[in-house]
Symmetry: C2
Subunit: 204 residues, 2 copies
Amino acid sequence: MGEVPDIVIGRLPIYLRALKHLMAADKEFTSSQELGRILGIGSAQIRKDLSHFGEFGKQGTGYEISYLSDQISKILNVDRDWSVALVGFGDLGQALAHYAGFASKGFHIDIIFDNDPAKLGESAKGTPVLDVSQIGPIIAERKIRIAIIAVPASAAQAVAEQLVDSGIRAILSYAPITLKLPEYVRVQYIDPVTHLQRMTYYLA
Amino acid sequence: MGEVPDIVIGRLPIYLRALKHLMAADKEFTSSQELGRILGIGSAQIRKDLSHFGEFGKQGTGYEISYLSDQISKILNVDRDWSVALVGFGDLGQALAHYAGFASKGFHIDIIFDNDPAKLGESAKGTPVLDVSQIGPIIAERKIRIAIIAVPASAAQAVAEQLVDSGIRAILSYAPITLKLPEYVRVQYIDPVTHLQRMTYYLA
DNA sequence: TAGATTGTTAATCGATTAACAATC
DNA sequence: TAGATTGTTAATCGATTAACAATC
């Protein structure tokens, strides 16, 4: 089952988001059709995607929302908490450190690194800010697997390599640069400018 | 030529980013092979993608970096400045308002909206913060086409509809919710939690 | 039972890749 | 000229969609 297309994996968090939303609205059951309507995709795609992992619905009635939500959470390994390291405590890093959405979904920013001596010792919500020289020992000691990079593009590659050497296996990078890392490291990018440039093409 | 796949359009900003990077390093020529190495994709894909728009290279020598960069900028309509409206001036909105990367790429946040009276009149880099009730008149008057949404999920759909009614045609949304909008509106989403959840699947 | 919706198969559609003639 | 690399064609690969038997 390790052969599930990554594009399918990429849709599961979206399904999960919609399910949580329905749960919050006290709905008990849903269908691939309803989910498709909410998400603007085809119902067949949703059923096909889910079929990679098992059978979660019932003919005639659809899916029990809390059950499907639990199952997808398990598949994605988000039925547990994750410790996350944040590198970069500038404007963006500070905003990320304060963002409540991470912890509420089980991603806890437990340690922050920066290379500016003026920022060391500061803390966001009680999370300490350490010097980047501590990346190696701390990440290794705490066995942290996930990191968020919020440093300038010029520093990102070096930081990423350090993180991977220390044991990080998944990186969410806000630096506008494509990282060169071993293939066993998962990387996701967030670059708002890229998204904007993708849309201006369609603005005559 | 309106039939260029959106997935191809989505890669052009990445190509552009790599080209700017090479330019900054004072390189004059590149090849699909070199670009592919930098970006971790195949050279054939790059040539195929570019072929949708014309012929930009020379056999034997490849692409002149500044020329190709200019051409892609024109294709994406980023060879000009764009005025952008930001809605939401909380932690995230403020970080976005301070982010230098937008203006340097031609995206100017010229107006900010929030619904918290305490925040009105504040300003980020001289950009005023107005009440959300002003969205309609101001966006229409200034003919702004692009907006960034940084409000809570619960408010995002209503804000988006207001924006579209006022003339906005491209939205970059940070709200973790799928917006339901007319198909003539381009929408891009940024939800860091979704990206993290997509990676934990692979963390045994 | 009648109606609804699943999971899956097969068909369609589209994107990626390999290969190469053209040519700088 | 010899070497390199383009733009494009054709082949491959993979993802989406339509359709439907199974069944709640």
